[in-house]
């Protein structure tokens, strides 16, 4: 890891200010992706701004139609939250299957979304559920938030403070693990919403998480979903899975997610 300056502001306002004052800042949430990346010297921020002091970013609330999760809430907290389990059980289950137990004890929802790893789980739930990302500057729809692999609409000094998930009629997440890393090789989140079915796919796309309106239309039409409409050239290929295999898995996982949601 390269040297850096460390800051621990006690409010998001102070955090935003610290970001503005730094050359090449990085926000540290749970650190479960950032720190391994910095250890490999693949990231070299001049300043690391920890959100650990911003206690108001932690917490979960539910009013029956919306579940709001603070950005610094850990995956473990989401997984074990009675509110989330009751309102959106698929989201609790997804959180309970991110990484391993120790990652879930540190990793946060805000960190995961801001990083937008193309194989992360939360982006699929956020996009499929049509969540709203609340930041220090504005509110962003999930459709507008994810802009590409490791890319989001966030501005440099903009910090996610919370995510609001509308409660769907039903939802389920089907994930096929990368055998080695256990990240999603393909993950499909299906949500039955009042606006119709929404499908978000993670792990597979070259541009990160994406929706498939074709699969959504199949489901809306009462058909069994398949992945024939997915363009193979838009998918990732690596030593674990070719684009063709990923495309196939999208169909299988979509089918399983729809079946599980009931």
């Amino acid at each position: 890891m390269y040297e850096f300056s460390y800051h621990k502001p006690s409010s998001v306002a102070d955090a935003a200010q610290a970001i503005g004052a730094a050359d090449d800042p990085k926000i540290l949430a749970g650190g479960q992706t950032l720190l391994p990346t910095m250890k490999q010297r693949l990231a070299s921020p001049s300043d690391v701004i920890s959100l650990r002091g911003c206690r108001d970013l932690v917490g979960i609330s539910s009013d029956g139609s919306t579940v709001t999760i603070g950005a610094m809430t850990t995956h473990a907290a989401v997984a074990s939250s009675a509110d989330v389990q009751k309102a959106i059980p698929a989201l609790a289950a997804l959180a309970g299957n991110i990484g391993d137990a120790q990652v879930r004890n540190r990793g946060t929802i805000g960190g995961s979304l801001a990083n937008n790893d193309p194989a992360a789980d939360y982006p699929a739930a956020t996009l499929a559920l049509g969540a709203t990302i609340v930041t220090t500057k504005r509110e962003l729809s999930a459709d507008a938030f994810f802009t590409g692999m490791f890319e989001t609409a966030l501005e440099e000094d903009e910090i996610i403070t919370a995510i609001r998930f509308p409660v769907p009629h039903a939802a389920a997440y089907a994930k096929f693990d990368n055998p080695a890393s256990r990240y999603a090789l393909v993950g499909v989140f299906y949500a039955k919403t009042s606006d119709g079915p929404r499908i978000a796919i993670t792990g597979a796309g070259q541009g990160g998480v994406f929706r498939s309106t074709e699969i959504e239309d199949q489901i809306a039409a009462g058909k069994t979903p398949d992945s024939s409409s997915i363009n193979e050239s838009d998918l990732n290929a690596d030593i674990h899975a070719s684009a063709a295999y990923r495309k196939h898995l999208i169909g299988v996982m979509a089918k399983r997610a729809v079946a599980a949601a009931g």
């Binding site: 890891m1 890393s181 070719s242 898995l249 299988v252």
Partner: protein, 791 residues
């Protein structure tokens, strides 16, 4: 059987320190005034070094010294085993530098060492070193490496990238058998390259005593004396009395910590230059690029059978990837630990084997758990199952028909080995019972009702371990003896220290060896200490590999204990005023037959050190004995592994739902420990078969260089194991022991793959390579469907 002697599942003595965080691994050790080393490694698979500029690095904060290959002019890292070509000429053995000399030959090759006050400073400074590389084309696959026009890893030192082209048997004689054959069954297969991945990364601390001129190396080694020999005599020219090598607690080895590595020589040599201790600890990503890999064979085999399925002859042609340099035991693995096992458990009368060992731009390949025997077993057991299918025979029946019968031992194979004992029918029968083999169709049908493809696979194997008779291996090219030493020191109060040349890094020697002592001397375990891993404390040692610790190291202890009992009996005879031949020793007490005279072991020990009333005319004081034991033959564990899998045809995912292993490892000293060893081997065998892929891209970059991409077996990949033993005793050692460290990894991979292919039979898949990953299985199912549609 006593509660602490032979045959008891004694809880391990070493566990307390490991469970409380008080183990003492190399990286836990720190020396006063210590510095830290970072090794700059080649990012290229093959390149000329046109220049290295270390100026900026040398003046970076905290840097103590920077050395390159130009500074470190020392001997070649030696290979411990010479193998001759078919024509009798010696193998090509290119120079193996500690720090690159003008050329790098694999990604990870050592280019420079940076020594600094902290590790971070050393690593920061490494980025300031400018290496002017001229990249060369690289080759990583052994078949491509011997094709005309392939890049030459060692230029003129190894034309055609050939290390050796070796054979065993008479090809013409075997060809004659094929002429009479009713059937010939052929197979092409790859034994996948693996990364050993002991959980403790390698580490080394070099220290130079400016007062005495002595060097000390602390290192993560399975055999500190071997490192002292190889590094001292060949690389750095340091005599034994000026070089101490300590291998403290070591966190797993599986073969990868046998070898003498460049980093050991670098920190030792550099400690003399900077006159301060230097610590180096590998990061895991460095381990992937510098720990010797395992396996990597490409083979073709033909089996000739008569009309009834009796094996007549076998021909095997193997290309073995050596990597960029010859690691310590690399050359013997695909020859004397592989070709000699190709008779397997069968009476095949004629066998011919040709092995080409080939240099490539990859990390050196050497022995990894099983070393050669897993490769032999995989080839044979895939081939035999394929033969059964091709001939329409039952896969168990074809094996039984060709088994070496239990009454045929000692059995001389056509490939040089003489098996001393075994009962392959017995292990087969027990494994079939434990796995409920005959009820498999019911389970298959039930799985099918859930949409799953269920398959069962079997493997019957023999291996050769307890390595090894020095005279035999010497005649085959080994450049060392493979005996073991032991010293038994009885202290005045009757407690005992054992100094053994075997090294324990998970095997539980501190317990198993203590059980031998407890059984022999009748003293409690808490009065016994097993000392190992330090060349200054242990007379000599050849170390731990080839499942040899008990069969060779344990026998050395037994021999030394025998000498102790002999001498103690004479002292006891003197004390009891009896004739030594009338003295009996049992349960820690010396008695004289037909009398009530009795003296206990403690009294004899005290007498030996306080010899007031003592037979000084005939005996020296003290009670301490040394022994060296050189085995008369290898030992031959064997057994039967049965695997059951369920495959999800939609995704290609395989779940191992049953793994049964019945192994004959000879006499069992500690059943709990033996079972644990077998479990560990099974996990590595299943890992090889289903999960672990070490892959290079065309440029020679390792694409599976971390746990993000190299799939380590985890708890949810594996089933509960059914492990049992069935015993025939080794016929040539006093304990009757064979060895249990590697059997799990030797027998299981073909059982797993045979199960996968059995499951996939109904969807038309005929072949699959290891590791049978979900993607590969899915692709095979697709390909079979396309083929079926075309027909």
């Amino acid at each position: 059987m006593s509660a602490t002697g032979i045959g008891a599942s004694v809880k391990r003595k070493e566990d307390f320190r490991f469970l409380t965080g008080r183990g003492n691994y190399t990286d836990d050790i720190n020396q006063p005034n210590q510095t830290y080393a970072y090794i700059l490694r080649s990012p290229h698979a093959h390149a000329k070094i046109k220049g290295i500029d270390t100026t900026a690095a040398k003046s970076a904060p905290g840097v103590v010294a920077v050395f390159t290959g130009e500074d470190m002019q020392v001997g070649s890292i030696p290979c411990g085993w010479g193998v001759n070509n078919k024509d009798g000429s010696p193998m090509n053995e290119p120079f193996h530098p500690a720090l690159a000399q003008g050329k790098v030959r694999h990604v990870g090759d050592q280019v420079a060492v940076i020594i600094a006050e902290t590790y971070s400073q050393a690593k920061d400074a490494a980025e300031l070193i400018e290496v002017d590389y001229e990249e060369l084309p690289a080759v990583t696959n052994s078949e491509k490496a011997i094709a005309p026009g392939a890049p030459l890893v060692h230029d003129d030192a190894a034309p055609n990238n050939m290390c050796y082209d070796w054979e065993l048997g008479d090809e013409a004689e075997v060809d004659a058998e094929f002429k009479n054959a009713a059937h010939v069954v052929s197979i092409d297969l790859t034994n996948n390259r693996l990364v050993p991945n002991a959980m403790e990364p390698r580490a080394a601390i070099g220290d130079y005593n400016t007062g005495t001129g002595e060097y000390t190396l602390y290192t993560t080694s399975q055999n500190p004396h071997v490192i002292r020999l190889l590094m001292g005599a060949f690389v750095l020219q340091l005599p034994e009395h000026k070089l101490r090598v300590v291998a403290p607690d070591v966190g797993g080895g599986f073969g990868s910590k046998i070898y003498h590595y460049a980093e050991e020589a670098i920190v030792t040599w550099a400690a003399g230059k900077v006159r301060r201790p230097i610590k180096w600890t590998a990061e895991r990503s460095e381990s992937f690029l510098s720990d010797a890999h395992g396996r990597d064979h490409i083979s073709h085999a033909d089996l000739a059978l008569d009309a009834d399925g009796k094996f007549l002859g076998l021909k095997v042609y193997t290309k073995a990837n050596m990597g960029a340099y010859l690691s310590t035991f690399s050359t013997c693995v695909p020859t004397y630990l592989y070709a000699t096992l190709l008779a397997g458990v069968y009476t095949t009368p004629k066998i011919y084997v040709n092995v080409k060992a080939i240099f490539t731009n990859t990390v050196p390949v050497d022995a990894y758990r099983g070393a050669g025997r897993p490769e032999a077993t995989y080839l044979l057991e895939r081939l035999v199952t394929k033969a059964a299918k091709q001939l329409g025979m039952d896969q168990v029946a074809i094996r039984q028909k060709n088994f070496i019968p239990a009454d045929a031992f000692p059995y001389q194979t056509p490939v040089a080995l003489q098996y001393d004992s075994g009962d392959y029918e017995a292990t087969l029968k027990k494994a079939m019972e434990l796995s409920k083999w005959t009820e498999f169709p019911k389970r298959k049908a039930e799985a099918a009702s859930r949409g799953k493809l269920r398959g069962i696979g079997i493997s019957t194997y023999v291996e050769a371990c307890g390595i090894a008779p020095s005279a035999v291996v010497g005649s085959l090219g080994a450049r060392a003896g493979l005996f073991e030493s032991a010293n038994v020191r009885v202290h005045p109060t009757g407690s005992v220290s054992i100094y053994t040349g075997s090294h324990s890094h998970g095997q539980g020697h501190e317990t198993t060896f203590a059980q031998l002592v407890s059984e022999t001397l009748g003293i409690p375990l808490e009065n016994i200490n097993i000392e190992h891993g330090d060349t200054n404390r242990i007379a000599f040692g050849m170390g731990t590999y080839g499942s040899r610790s008990l069969a060779v190291g344990g026998e050395a202890i037994m021999k030394a204990l025998g000498k102790v009992v002999d001498k103690a009996s004479k002292i006891a005879a003197h004390l009891m005023e009896a004739s030594p031949e009338d003295v009996e020793f049992k349960d820690g007490k010396f008695t004289v037959a037909g009398t009530d005279k009795e003296v206990d072991f403690g009294t004899v020990a005290l007498t030996a050190y306080v010899p007031h009333n003592y037979p000084h005319e005939t005996l020296e004081p003290g009670l301490e004995e040394n022994a060296f034991y050189d085995p008369m033959n290898f030992t031959y564990p064997g057994g039967c592994h049965i695997c059951e899998v369920e495959i999800d045809p939609d995704t290609g995912t395989t779940q191992v739902v049953g793994m049964t292993a019945v192994d004959d490892v000879g006499r069992v000293i500690n059943p709990m420990i033996v079972e644990g060893q077998i479990h560990g081997g099974l996990a590595q065998g299943i890992g090889q078969a289903l999960l672990e892929a070490c892959e290079y891209d065309d440029n020679g970059q390792l694409t599976s260089g971390s746990y993000m991409d190299y799939c380590m077996p985890r708890a949810d990949n594996l089933p509960d194991f059914k492990a049992a033993t069935e015993t025939t005793l080794c016929a040539h050692n006093s304990l009757g022991v064979k060895g249990c460290g590697e059997v799990g990894a030797i027998g299981s991979p073909p059982a797993v793959i045979n199960a996968v292919l059995d499951a996939l039979h109904d969807v038309g898949v005929q072949d699959i390579s290891m590791p049978a990953t979900p993607q590969k299985i899915w692709q095979a199912i697709q390909a079979a469907a396309v083929l079926a549609a075309a027909e």
